[in-house]
């Protein structure tokens, strides 16, 4: 009820020891001027009505109470950052892929996606590698660079590469025993067109450099006597 001390003001009642003030209650009454406040208000302390509480919307009782108390998972506010790229990796670098279907192929690096994976293309016409995502660890960055300034990469992100959610088919009894119709996964035409547009620009820059096209179509392999720890990439 009593008015708060203004910010920055110390108490008017210094502590002699912790818990014991210097002035008695009646002394403090005078010090704080409570008599003056009372006089101003007609002999009674001013009363402030509590603010009317905001009308509470009557909460509907939940339909379902779980049998056991369910623990809420702890809040995780960590944000995902794309992996830090090695200094040798810049847009336009030629990579050697180290694993997977295209092992040993030399490809052109386009950009890093938000997931941290690297977007890469053969180009498709040159060595059969399509627009693909690759992890930094599975790549050797060579010192060869291709000019990719003309290529528009705004449309490619991780969403583009996600698998399409398969619709769940309800199987009837009869259908269960029939052989499932094999739906061939055909690459949609718009993705093929994207590949062509990206590659068109790239191939121009590649053909401008002597032998770069043959270089990209050739696979990298270790020959007898080659020591990778002595190779300069």
């Amino acid at each position: 009820m009593a008015p708060k001390a203004a910010t920055g003001r110390t108490s008017r009642n210094p502590d002699l020891i912790r818990g014991v003030g210097k002035f008695s209650r009646s002394k403090m009454y005078h010090k704080r001027g409570l008599w003056a406040i009372k006089a101003k208000n007609g002999g009674v302390f001013p009363k402030h009505d509590p603010k009317p509480a905001a009308a509470e919307t009557p909460a509907k009782p939940p339909k379902f109470y779980p049998a056991d108390d369910v623990k809420k998972p702890l809040v995780n506010k960590r944000k995902h950052k794309p992996t830090k790229l090695r200094a040798s990796i810049t847009p336009g670098t030629v990579f050697i892929l180290l694993a997977g279907r295209f092992m040993g192929k030399r490809v052109v690096f386009l950009k890093q996606l938000t997931s941290g994976l690297l977007l890469v293309t053969g180009p498709f016409k040159v060595n059969g590698v399509p627009l693909r995502r690759v992890n930094q660890s599975y790549v050797i960055a060579t010192s060869t660079k291709v000019d990719i300034s003309g290529v528009d990469l705004g449309k490619f992100d991780d969403q583009y590469f996600e698998k399409e959610a398969e619709k769940k088919k309800k199987k009837g009894e009869g259908e269960f025993f029939e052989a499932e119709k094999e739906e061939k996964k055909v690459l949609p035409d718009d993705k093929k067109d994207d590949q062509k547009t990206v590659d068109a620009q790239l191939i121009k820059s590649i053909e401008a450099v002597l032998d770069l096209k043959t270089y990209l179509s050739a696979r990298f392999s270790l020959k007898s006597g080659m020591k990778p720890h002595e190779l300069v990439f």
Binding site: R86, L98, A99, V139, I140, A141, P228, H229, E230, F233
Partner: protein
């Protein structure tokens, strides 16, 4: 892949520690050369996957740890190092 041969496990005179194998990689002859291979993965006998953590001594021999210990029968057998995880 770079090839190598499996040696024995890490051991002292009378005690053996089969969880780590010594591997000699062809063409690697000094401790400094091994540092290129550290962190790379192994494939031994097409079954065991492992990692190259560190060199062993001065002459390029390497200590490797596999998911499951290599069988003693395979001592002297071919082992390959793959180039990933890459670090160039």
């Amino acid at each position: 892949m770079v090839k190598g041969h499996q040696g024995e496990g890490v051991r002292s005179k009378s005690n053996q520690y089969p969880n780590t194998s010594l591997i000699h990689i062809e063409g690697v002859n000094t401790k400094e050369e091994v540092s290129w291979y550290c962190g790379k993965q192994w494939i031994a006998l097409l079954l065991h996957l492992g990692q190259v953590p560190r060199p062993h001594g001065n002459s390029g021999v390497v200590r490797a740890k596999f998911k499951s210990n290599l069988p003693p029968k395979s001592m002297g057998d071919r082992v390959r190092v793959v180039m990933y995880p890459g670090n160039i």
